[in-house]
């Protein structure tokens, strides 16, 4: 497959023109939500909002994996590191996400042993050379959850290696939000990486129950514009179905092998989504069979009675729900910057506020 076609300027310009033509038929301004931080990154990187007509707004939803990790969980692993002489390992982005008082990064200056890793495999290697317990703070959606499950099944894990899973299942999270009426949008761009695992089947209920045109997209400029074009076409013809512009990676059933691996290792239970509350059936919880690696079973986790998800003035919750743009937040680029993030959306390259900031928007 010639992937260059997906970033061919002529094709991109033609798609932008086709969107303009189709958008002229719209009866109202529409909001199209994506639920993948990497999509926001691509949209900023390619300047795609520049190419869209005024009556189409592309907004970001709860698609950044570290942004939706609850302060409760961050506070809990910080407590663990400080009180039990445990080494906490996690992805780089996670280190700077603020908890109620400290980020993991900040906890280091209080003596916590926190290390950045690129994958669970790095954390396992690290535990082999460590004389104390090593806990992998496992965050992210289906994509990283599949990696965690595979490592558990494939490897003989060192006895001092443990996992604290805050992995989350995307489709049911978005489904719950749609059902609650908290999200307001007219079309949905389905995530590229996460859908490659979960498949498109699970998203059909979005179209049936909520009459929302839903199109899966990759991460090149043409991928995203084509998805927008198809959504606008569906809206103009009063249709709501699931379409796939990323069939080089995603299929209807998803990655069934990965699904089987995850089914063996995890059950789906409650998860706390930062700012969104507890959502059933969205937390990947280690099955009893794997209790030997489950940090929550081995350590005396102290969960805070009160935890602060978003600090005063921070509008990350509204940003995650697509109700506000980062530039609507009074703290954006003033008191809240990537150097000193107040809210979680300003931390990761997948966070909406960080993407806006990096793109120099609204300054």
């Amino acid at each position: 497959m010639n992937l260059e076609l997906f970033s061919d300027p002529q094709i991109v310009k033609k798609l932008a023109k086709a969107i303009q033509t189709e958008a002229a038929k719209l009866k109202k301004e529409i909001k199209i939500m994506h639920i993948c931080g990497t999509h926001e990154n691509s949209i900023i990187r390619f300047g795609l909002r520049d190419l869209l007509p005024a009556n189409i707004r592309v907004i970001a939803g709860p698609g950044c994996p570290v942004c939706v990790t609850s302060s409760r969980d961050i506070d809990a692993v910080i407590n663990l590191a400080l009180k039990e002489n445990v080494c906490i390992t996690t992805f780089g982005d996670m280190l700077k996400v603020p908890g109620s008082k400290l980020s993991l990064h900040g906890a280091k200056s209080h003596g916590a042993d926190i290390k950045m890793v690129y994958s669970i495999y790095d954390a396992i290697e690290l535990s082999k050379n460590s004389n104390k317990p090593v806990v992998f703070f496992a965050c992210g959606f289906e994509t990283t959850a599949a990696g965690t499950a595979a490592a558990i099944l494939d490897l003989k894990l060192p006895s001092n290696f443990f996992i604290y899973s805050v992995h989350k299942y995307t489709p049911d999270g978005v489904y719950a939000l749609l059902k609650s009426g908290k999200i307001d949008m007219d079309g949905l761009i389905l995530p590229g990486h996460a859908s490659a695992i979960s498949g498109l089947r699970t998203y059909e209920r979005f179209a049936f129950e909520f009459h929302i045109p839903s199109v899966a997209a990759g991460f090149e400029a043409a991928d995203i514009l084509l998805a927008i074009l198809l959504i606008v076409k569906q809206i103009n013809s009063n249709q709501a179905k699931v379409e796939n512009t990323y069939n080089r990676v995603i299929n209807y059933e998803g990655n069934t092998k990965a699904q089987q691996i995850m089914d063996r290792v995890f059950s789906l239970g409650e998860a706390i989504w930062r700012g969104l509350g507890t959502i059933e059936h969205t937390g990947y919880i280690l099955k009893d069979e794997f209790a030997y690696v489950d940090a929550t079973k081995h350590f005396n986790f102290e969960y805070p009675n009160h935890y602060i998800e978003h600090k005063k003035g921070c509008r990350c919750r509204d940003v995650i729900l697509g109700k506000a743009q980062p530039t609507d937040c009074p703290l954006y680029a003033k008191h809240c910057t990537p150097y000193n993030p107040v809210g979680p959306c300003m931390v990761s390259d997948e966070g909406t506020c960080k993407n806006f900031y990096d793109g120099g928007i609204g300054e």
Binding site: G37, T38, N41, R45, F91, A221, Y339, E350, G360, I361
Partner: protein, 322 residues
């Protein structure tokens, strides 16, 4: 500003710049001090791994200092080298590093004339740290004071080679690409330009923080900004592949053998023509122009005609989670 030094303060991004401005109160934003007809610079090198595809810390130390002198229009002449060595470090490796330094110095036609050695306890440093200082003779004073609207921005070759090659090795990413660091001294590339009638306005090597940091530093708090055409920036296919996998754009990856050169618009074609004659700069290209209206901003024009601002990196870029 944070009340303690963090790793990000040393990443070469905006926090490094703030540290230099606010704590060290350094006023000269150039790569080397201009002292009458001399240029003087210093640089410390603490890298991991010490040996990588295309070079080692020794080659990096010499070429970095040589290139910093070239940036202000000087012919590099003399270098000092100070070593901080961790007890237990193998003599054979140290010899290899020293040989690299001598080899690179010979190629740059500079002399290593003095030095210092300190040994610290095991575990107190990552093998070897090297500080190099350098002196050069100004041929054509280049300090950015005469940059004008419409001046052309040139890069001497492909970007991101060093940063992604190091990342691949350091983090054991094991991505199977044929990519080497571009680390090299650029005397043979830049001296012919300095000795020509080309009106060079500004130069900087896009090291830590990559092209994004380099361009932003060049126009930081100045009356002009840059408009850069993304599709003109030379990027190797191997770099594109790693960039896509990691979710890190090549603009933020370090280069150790490239130079960004701002020249008078009319001189740009001749500059590129001269650069292309040297294998080290055969991929040289005009990538943009100076715009007074942009005042301190770097604007990228995408191949699709849209615009985005290319900001200074906050810290070292991380691979994406999913």
């Amino acid at each position: 500003m944070s009340d303690v030094i963090t790793i990000d303060h040393g990443s070469g991004g905006k926090l490094t710049l703030e540290l230099i401005e606010n704590i060290f109160k350094a006023e000269n934003g150039l790569d080397a001090a201009i002292l009458d007809d001399l240029a003087f610079t210093t640089d410390s090198h603490s890298i991991k791994p010490l040996f990588f595809d295309g070079g080692d810390i020794g080659k990096l130390a010499v070429s970095g200092t040589v290139n910093d002198l070239l940036c202000v229009g000087a012919k590099p002449l003399y270098i000092s080298s100070a070593f901080i060595i961790e007890a237990g470090f193998e003599i054979e490796k140290l010899q290899k590093i020293v040989n690299s330094m001598q080899e690179e110095a010979r190629k740059a036609n500079v002399k290593i004339v003095c030095g210092d050695t300190k040994v610290v306890e095991k575990g107190k440093c990552d093998g070897v740290y090297i500080n190099t200082s350098g002196i050069g003779k100004i041929i054509k004073k280049i300090d950015g004071s005469n940059v004008e609207d419409g001046d052309a921005v040139i890069i001497t070759g492909s970007i991101g080679d060093h940063g992604f090659s190091i990342m691949n090795k350091r983090e054991n990413l094991n991505i199977d690409v044929n990519l080497k660091s571009d680390v090299t001294q650029l005397s043979d590339v830049i001296l012919p330009l300095l000795n020509s009638d080309i009106d060079i306005k500004f130069m900087r090597d896009p090291t830590r923080g990559g092209l994004a940091m380099c361009l932003n530093e060049l126009c930081y708090k100045r009356h002009f900004g840059f408009e850069i055409y993304e599709d003109k920036i030379p990027i190797k296919e191997e770099v594109r592949v790693i960039s896509e996998i990691l979710g890190i754009e090549p603009y933020f990856a370090a280069n150790e053998g490239k130079m960004v050169i701002v020249v008078k618009k009319e001189d740009a074609p001749k500059t590129v023509e001269m650069l292309k004659k040297n294998p080290k700069s055969k991929d040289a290209a005009i990538i943009g122009e100076v715009k007074n209206s942009l005042q301190g901003k770097v604007v990228l024009i995408t191949p699709f005609g849209s615009k985005r601002i290319l900001k200074m990196p906050v810290s070292d870029k991380m691979p994406r989670i999913c």
